[in-house]
């Protein structure tokens, strides 16, 4: 199990929760689990440490800018640091985050063992976010963004994204 503890100053939480993920706007960056630390430094500056979902995730630069903007609106100066350790994992997505993903039409990540079974096409475990059927199959291991795979539902025939497990 990955160390998923975060150190976010409660006074900063509301502002951080107002920042959506640029690619999955129903998810806040806090629910996504990319905010690892947020503190108010002695000089009053806010320091936020974020970790990338995938190394090349182009959203990280945007998230950094969005955090600075959100704090500026609240009259605070913020700086953002990128940390690589501990590496982000899908376990860092909150329960609220998982629910938001499903509601948005993206199947939330399964645990590591089940994930491997579905990506190898051995078992049908991913639930279709449209009709809840598990009669689904993998179309491609790579989807519209680095974190997703493409699936289709054999019952309602809708294609959908599955958020790949990363642990």
């Amino acid at each position: 199990m990955t160390e998923t503890q975060t150190h976010i100053n409660p006074k900063l939480l509301d502002i951080l929760k107002s920042v959506p993920d640029p690619e999955i706007p129903v998810l806040t960056i806090v629910d996504l689990g990319v905010v690892r630390e947020a503190a108010i430094l002695e000089d009053g500056t806010v320091e936020v440490k974020i970790t990338p979902t995938y190394s090349g995730c182009p959203a990280m630069d945007v998230i950094g800018d969005d955090i600075v903007t959100a704090f500026a609106k609240a009259g605070m100066k913020a700086k953002v640091k990128l940390v690589l350790s501990p590496a982000w994992s899908t376990d860092m997505i909150s329960e609220e985050g998982r629910a938001a993903l499903e509601k948005y039409g993206i199947a939330a990540p399964l645990d590591a063992t089940a994930d491997k079974e579905v990506l190898l096409g051995n078992k049908k475990l991913v639930k279709c976010p449209q009709c809840c059927s598990k009669n689904t199959e993998l179309v491609s291991q790579f989807g519209s963004t680095a974190c997703k795979a493409q699936f289709k539902c054999n019952d309602c025939l809708e294609p959908f994204d599955y958020f790949k497990c990363l642990t």
């Binding site: 090349g56 640091k81 350790s85």
Partner: protein
């Protein structure tokens, strides 16, 4: 944005460490560029998306490595300078990754030959005494595992597919095989890094590598080449004729409009 992890104080000479990081990072840069060339040209929508996704993963890793090198450098340097403003001789990638996208069989074979090595390297590098390299490797393992699953699956499908796919991918295997041995060549920088507990002894990966690759090739009903002649030179900056073309494509914007940003 800056990394909060700075270099742990180790006994390694900084210039040697930088050389060693380039050896690892330049492979991802050049292979990422080769995948990038296929954007909009993949054989199907799904494979096109997969190849560009992997390109993005590799570039992400490259950025982490180059930002680290920039931090270690005394002169004002950025990741972009390192990526775009070096001369051909200063790139230390292996010859394998610069080989052209001849056809999908070549693309997959080249990737699989690299992925198997890349994953083994990351799995060792995560124990590096250098905190930053260890963190980059830990992050990379997850991504590279997906890459290897993709290239391995396709290699099996092409090898055990139609007569044409079998013949074409066998040709790719035969042509690219002589470039595999260079992956395990130890340079002075790699030796020093290994001695300092920072780098990975690539020589030790050779046996498990050929075992794993041979098993998959057999499963894909492909013949394992017996060639004993291997190309090398990339790690010393002596590249094949393809490298200049890659660099002219890749460096054009930065050289024409110095300092430009997206």
């Amino acid at each position: 944005m800056n990394f909060t992890h700075l270099r742990e104080k180790n006994k390694m000479n900084t210039e040697t460490l930088k050389d060693y990081i380039l050896e690892i990072a330049d492979n991802s840069l050049i292979l990422g560029q080769r995948f990038g060339e296929l954007c909009g040209h993949g054989p199907s929508l799904e494979t096109d998306i997969a190849l560009t996704n992997m390109s993005l993963d590799l570039f992400g890793q490259v950025r982490s490595y180059y930002q680290y090198i920039a931090q270690l450098s005394e002169e004002e340097k950025t990741e972009d300078d390192i990526a775009f403003l070096r001369l051909e001789r200063d790139y230390k990638n292996v010859l394998l990754v610069e080989q052209p996208n001849t056809d999908f069989g070549y693309v997959i074979t080249r990737q699989y030959f690299f992925d198997v090595f890349h994953l083994m390297l990351m799995q060792q590098l995560q124990y590096s005494k250098d905190e930053t390299l260890s963190a980059i490797a830990k992050k990379g393992i997850k991504e590279v595992s997906y890459h290897k699953r993709f290239s391995g699956d396709w290699l099996k499908r092409l090898g055990d597919g139609t007569k044409e796919s079998h013949e074409r991918v066998q040709k790719a295997v035969n042509d690219l095989w002589p470039y595999t041995n260079e992956l395990f060549e130890m340079t002075e920088a790699a030796t020093a890094a290994t001695e300092a507990g920072v780098g990975v002894d690539a020589g030790q990966l050779k046996e498990p590598y050929y075992k794993e690759v041979s098993e998959l090739l057999k499963e894909a009903t492909l013949e394992v080449p017996e060639s004993k002649y291997f190309h090398k030179g990339g790690k010393q900056g002596v590249h094949t004729e393809h490298m200049g073309y890659i660099l002219s494509d890749m460096q054009f914007m930065q050289r024409t409009y110095p300092g430009m940003k997206w």
